[in-house]
Symmetry: C2
């Protein structure tokens, strides 16, 4: 049986559509009353694990899931060894650098040396500033990163921006885009290597419907 | 003005009661329609930051909050330098080791050497097994840790247990308690040291009502 790790939250609905087109129906997972963490497809040929965004690479790398769908942002933070198969195009948002609107900072190099930058994405933030050769201290927050500049703890934030509403509501503006993040199809490298025809057929089917869309 | 970091979620209601008894009313934060991350007390003498559990030590250690209320479990995972002032007694739950009910493991030393243990609390889990001198590999998950044993990825989990319902619903049983966690009052060490009478009075008031309760 094929096992698929799906991220709960914003990507779930589109992830389920992708597998439905490929013949696996996990739509039970979208029912409000669903509390189950594992869902069998209607055809009983596959099983989905409903996990937190950041846990998708863990289940896939440990081989508890053959496939997974997860945001590019999560992959950038993860050290898990997994095969990145396909850009699925949905769930688009940008990893951005933002500051207080009235801060006067218009570009990253305007930030004062050794200032604090708050982020949930510490690896991304660290690499970004290293490439720019700007010394900053990254403060790791797990939620509501916009509070960093509001409270004066941080001069800037590195965070995912979808509509920009949260930034606007908190008096922040974007001054740089670091990368564009979309949902990705990932696989366990060993599952890919062994002779598993149903898995290979499933991947081919997703690839071909993805190609037709683009 | 005194700033207080409060953890959103299970501890919020009781945390607000503690400050209300001490004369600071943040009950606006409990309104369902509240979306604000900062709340001023009705008397305008203090401000509360509503943050994620794990971020309370960050705001307090960086001095953006003078005081905070957070679970002992979060403090055990955090490296933040903060003053631990008081056990407030509420929000009790146990940090436990649990396994599949039908696994046959009755105590930690029954676990096979080098097996996988899933946890959100990697530091706690690592220290626990180090003390017991049992070599295990800790798998860091960020949510739904019970999926670890269900999927076969992990032999055991280290997780917070309040009522035990989640364990039971997932066919797991507790085989050891690591510590009992409750809500703690914490403070920024510098805020404590400088001459700040309103802050000292507030702490004394919380201490005395806490003493009366015990």
């Amino acid at each position: 049986m094929i096992t698929i790790a799906l991220a709960k939250g914003a990507l779930l609905k589109d992830s389920i559509s992708i597998f439905k087109k490929a013949g696996l129906d996990f739509s039970e997972a979208l029912l409000v009353e669903n509390r189950s963490l594992t869902i069998e497809s209607k055809c009983k040929k596959a099983k989905a694990l409903l996990v937190r965004n950041g846990d998708v690479p863990v289940y896939v790398s440990y081989g508890q899931a053959d496939l997974g769908i997860v945001g590019y942002d999560v992959l950038q933070e993860s050290d898990a060894e997994i095969a990145k198969l396909l850009d699925l195009g949905f769930g688009g948002c940008s990893m951005s650098l933002a500051v207080k609107k009235d801060s006067g900072y218009l570009k990253p190099t305007d930030l004062p040396p050794n200032c604090y930058v708050a982020s949930k994405f510490v690896k991304t933030a660290r690499l970004y500033f290293e490439k720019l050769n700007i010394p900053v201290e990254i403060v790791h927050l797990t939620g509501s990163v916009e509070l960093g500049p509001i409270t004066g703890m941080a001069e800037a934030i590195v965070d995912l921006v979808a509509t920009g509403k949260t930034l606007k509501d908190n008096g922040l503006i974007k001054i740089d885009d670091i990368y564009h993040s979309t949902a990705r199809l990932v696989a366990n490298p060993l599952s890919m290597r062994i002779d598993n025809k149903p898995l290979q057929d499933l991947i081919l089917s997703i690839e071909s419907s993805n190609d037709n869309k683009n």
